[in-house]
C-alpha cells in the first residue's frame, strides 16, 4: 500500500507542475499581458510602465519569471495584488474558509440525500420512483446554476422573505445562527445539482452490485433485505463512490464559484469574478492554482481513502 501511495503522490506532483505551467503560460500569452490595465490609463507614461515592469520582474525572460514565481508559490510568496498591493496569499487564503464552508456543507448534504435516492432507485428499478428521480435529476443537471440561484433568491428571499438574499452574515456580524441562516439558500442551490449527480452515480453503481454473486449469497443466508443492502451493498459501493467524489471535484469547485457570485458569498469564486473585472492577474492566477490544487489533492485524498478501505489495495494485490 505504501508503494501505491508513493506512486499516487508522484503522479499528483507531476499534475501540479503541469497545472502551474499551463496557468503561467495562459497569463503571459494574454494580449497586453499582466500590465494591460496600466497601458490603457492615459496618465501612466511609457516610463512609468517600464518602471512597473521592472518592479514586478516582467522584463526578465519568461522561464526566469516562471521559476521565480513557482519558487515563490512553494514558499508562500504569491506576489502582490496589482490593486491595493496586498499580498495575494493573504487575500486568497482569507477567502478559502468561506468557500470550503459552502462546498463542504453542500457536498455532505448532497451525499446523504443523493446516495439515499440512488439506492432506492436501484432497488425499485423501473418503478415510477426510479423514472421520476432519474428525470428530475436530469432536469436538475440541465438548470443553469446562476439562474436557479437567482430564482431561489426571488422566491425565498424577496417574495416569501424566509431567507436572506445573499452574503455570509448580517452586516456587522450576527453570530453562529445568523451565519447558518445565510448558508441555507446557497447550500441548497449548490447541493441540488450535486444530489442529481450522486443519485445517478449511486443508482448505476448499486445496480452493478445488486447483480453480484455475494449479494445473492447474503440473501440466501436469510439476512434481512435492509441488512443485505446496507452491510453488503453500500459497503461495496463505497470504493467507486469515493473515487467518483474525487473525480467530481472540478464540478464542485466550479459550481461553488458560480453559486458564490450569485449569492455574494465572500469566497474564492466571488473574488475571482471581481479580480477578472480589474484584470488583477496575480490574484486570478493564485485562485486558478488553488482551485487546481484542491482538485489534485482531493483526488489524492480519495485514492488514499480507497486504499484504506479496499482490502485488495491494502494487501498490495493491485
Amino acid at each position: 500500500m505504501v508503494r501505491y501511495l508513493f506512486n499516487r503522490l508522484g503522479q499528483s506532483a507531476v499534475l501540479l507542475i503541469g497545472v502551474s505551467i499551463i496557468g503561467f503560460a495562459l497569463m503571459h500569452l494574454a494580449p497586453g499581458g499582466p500590465l494591460a490595465v496600466y497601458t490603457l490609463n492615459p496618465t501612466v507614461t511609457a516610463q512609468d510602465i517600464e518602471r512597473v515592469k521592472h518592479q514586478f520582474g516582467l522584463d526578465q525572460p519568461v522561464y526566469v519569471q516562471y521559476f521565480k514565481w513557482a519558487g515563490g508559490l512553494v514558499t508562500g510568496q504569491w506576489g502582490y495584488s496589482f490593486f491595493g498591493g496586498r499580498p495575494v496569499s493573504a487575500i486568497v487564503l482569507e477567502r478559502l474558509p468561506a468557500t470550503f464552508e459552502l462546498m463542504g456543507s453542500s457536498l455532505l448534504l448532497a451525499l446523504i440525500i443523493g446516495v439515499a435516492i440512488g439506492m432506492l432507485a436501484a432497488v425499485r428499478r423501473n418503478s415510477i420512483l426510479d423514472y421520476a428521480t432519474a428525470t428530475a435529476a436530469m432536469i436538475a443537471l440541465s438548470l443553469p446554476t446562476f439562474w436557479f440561484g437567482l430564482l431561489g433568491i426571488f422566491v425565498f428571499a424577496q417574495t416569501l422573505g424566509w431567507l436572506p438574499a445573499g452574503g455570509i452574515e448580517t452586516t456587522g456580524g450576527g453570530g453562529f445562527a445568523d451565519r447558518m441562516w445565510h448558508l441555507v439558500l446557497p447550500m441548497l442551490v449548490l447541493a441540488f445539482v450535486l444530489v442529481a449527480q450522486w443519485s445517478r452515480y449511486t443508482r448505476s453503481t448499486m445496480l452493478e452490485i445488486l447483480g453480484q454473486d455475494y449479494m445473492r449469497t447474503a440473501r440466501a443466508k436469510g439476512l434481512r433485505p435492509a441488512r443485505v443492502l446496507l452491510a453488503h451493498g453500500l459497503r461495496a459501493a463505497l470504493v467507486p463512490l469515493v473515487t467518483l467524489a474525487g473525480l467530481q471535484l472540478p464540478l464542485l469547485v466550479g459550481g461553488a464559484l458560480v453559486t458564490e457570485t450569485v449569492f455574494s458569498w465572500p469566497g474564492m469564486g466571488l473574488l475571482f469574478v471581481n479580480a477578472l473585472g480589474t484584470r488583477d492577474y496575480p490574484v486570478l492566477m493564485a485562485i486558478l492554482m488553488v482551485g487546481a490544487l484542491v482538485v489534485v489533492l482531493g483526488n489524492l485524498l480519495a485514492d488514499v481513502i480507497v486504499a484504506l478501505i479496499d482490502p485488495r489495495i491494502k494487501l498490495g494485490h493491485v
Partner: protein, 296 residues
C-alpha cells in the same frame, strides 16, 4: 466494409441500425428532446421570418410590457424590445455556440486521443498527461480567465469553450483505440501499407463513433450552459446582440421589476440543455447493449 466492422466490434446484432433506432425511440424523453431541439432549431434558424418584431427595435412606450399584452406573447424588456423575438434570435446564437463548441471538442479531443494512442511512446505520455492536467482545472475558472482578455465573438467563444472541454473525448478515443489497436483489421490495413492518418480516419474513427456520439451530445448541453454563464457575467456574447445568457445579465433587478424577463431566457436554456442531455441518455441506452439490457 465499415458497417460490417462497426457491428462486429460494438457487438451489435447484424440488424444494427434498425435495432438501435428502435431502442432510441423507446426512450420517450430522448424522443421528446429531439422534438424540442427541432422546434427550437426551426424557431432560431427561421427567426428572420418567424419573429414577430425586430429583436433590436426599441420602443420606449412598450417598456416592461407584460406577456400576452398588445399581441406580444412574452412581453417586452426594459428597452421595450420584444422578448419573444429576442429569444428566437438569441437561440440562434446560443445553439450555434453550443454546436460549434461541441465540434471543436470533437476535433481536438479526437486528434489528441487518436495520435496519443496510435503513435504511443513519449507522445502518448505527453498528450495524455496534458489531458490529465487540463482536467484538474475547473472548466469555469479556465474559461472565464481566457474570456476576460479575448475579444468575444461567436467564433472565439465557441473556440474557447471547445478548447476547455475536449478532454473527455480524448480519453474515450484513447481508450477505444488502445483496445482496437491489436484488432486484426487494423493489422491488415497496416500490412496493406496504409499511412497512420488514413488508418485513424478510415478504420478507427468509424469504430469509435458510438461513444463519441453520446459524449458529443452531452458536450453540446454543457457548452450551452457555459456560454450562458459567461454571457451572463458579461464576458460572452455582447449586447445588443442577444444570447440566452446575456438576456439574464440584469436578471437580479428584473426579478423585482418584471420577473417574467428573468424567467423566459432561463427556461429556454434549461429546455435546450435538458433536451440535449436526454438525447445523450437515449443514445447511450440505444448504442450500448449492455446498459439497455441490464439496467433498463
Amino acid at each position: 466494409m465499415s458497417d460490417i466492422l462497426l457491428t462486429e466490434v460494438a457487438g451489435v446484432a447484424p440488424r444494427g441500425r434498425a435495432h438501435i433506432l428502435r431502442r432510441f425511440l423507446h426512450h420517450k424523453l430522448a424522443v421528446l428532446g429531439v422534438v424540442v431541439i427541432a422546434l427550437l432549431g426551426v424557431a432560431a434558424a427561421g427567426a428572420t421570418w418567424l419573429a414577430p418584431y425586430d429583436p433590436d427595435y426599441i420602443e420606449i412606450g412598450q417598456r416592461y410590457a407584460p406577456p400576452l399584452s398588445d399581441g406580444r406573447l412574452l412581453g417586452a424588456d426594459d428597452l421595450g424590445r420584444d422578448v419573444q423575438s429576442r429569444l428566437m434570435f438569441a437561440g440562434r446564437i446560443s445553439l450555434s455556440v453550443g454546436i460549434a463548441a461541441m465540434l471543436v471538442t470533437l476535433i481536438v479531443g479526437f486528434a489528441v486521443g487518436a495520435f496519443a494512442a496510435y503513435l504511443g511512446g513519449f507522445i502518448d505520455v505527453a498528450l495524455m498527461r496534458l489531458t490529465d492536467v487540463m482536467l484538474c482545472f475547473p472548466s469555469v475558472f479556465l474559461l472565464l480567465f481566457v474570456a476576460a482578455f479575448v475579444t468575444p465573438t461567436l467564433t472565439s467563444i465557441a473556440l474557447m469553450i471547445g478548447l476547455t472541454c475536449w478532454m473527455e473525448i480524448a480519453r474515450i478515443v484513447h481508450a477505444q483505440i488502445l483496445s482496437l489497436k491489436s484488432a486484426d483489421f487494423i493489422a491488415a490495413a497496416q500490412l496493406a501499407g496504409a499511412p497512420a492518418w488514413r488508418i485513424v480516419l478510415r478504420q478507427i474513427l468509424p469504430n469509435t463513433l458510438a461513444p463519441l456520439l453520446v459524449a458529443a451530445t452531452l458536450n453540446t448541453a454543457n457548452a450551452i450552459l457555459l456560454e450562458s454563464y459567461i454571457s451572463f457575467l458579461g464576458y460572452g456574447i455582447q449586447p445588443p446582440q442577444a444570447s440566452w445568457g446575456n438576456m439574464l445579465t440584469n436578471a437580479q433587478s428584473d426579478f423585482q421589476v418584471d420577473a417574467w424577463l428573468a424567467v423566459f431566457p432561463g427556461l429556454a436554456i434549461t429546455l435546450a440543455v435538458a433536451s440535449f442531455n436526454f438525447i445523450g441518455d437515449g443514445l447511450r441506452d440505444a448504442l450500448d447493449p449492455r446498459v439497455s439490457h441490464n439496467e433498463r
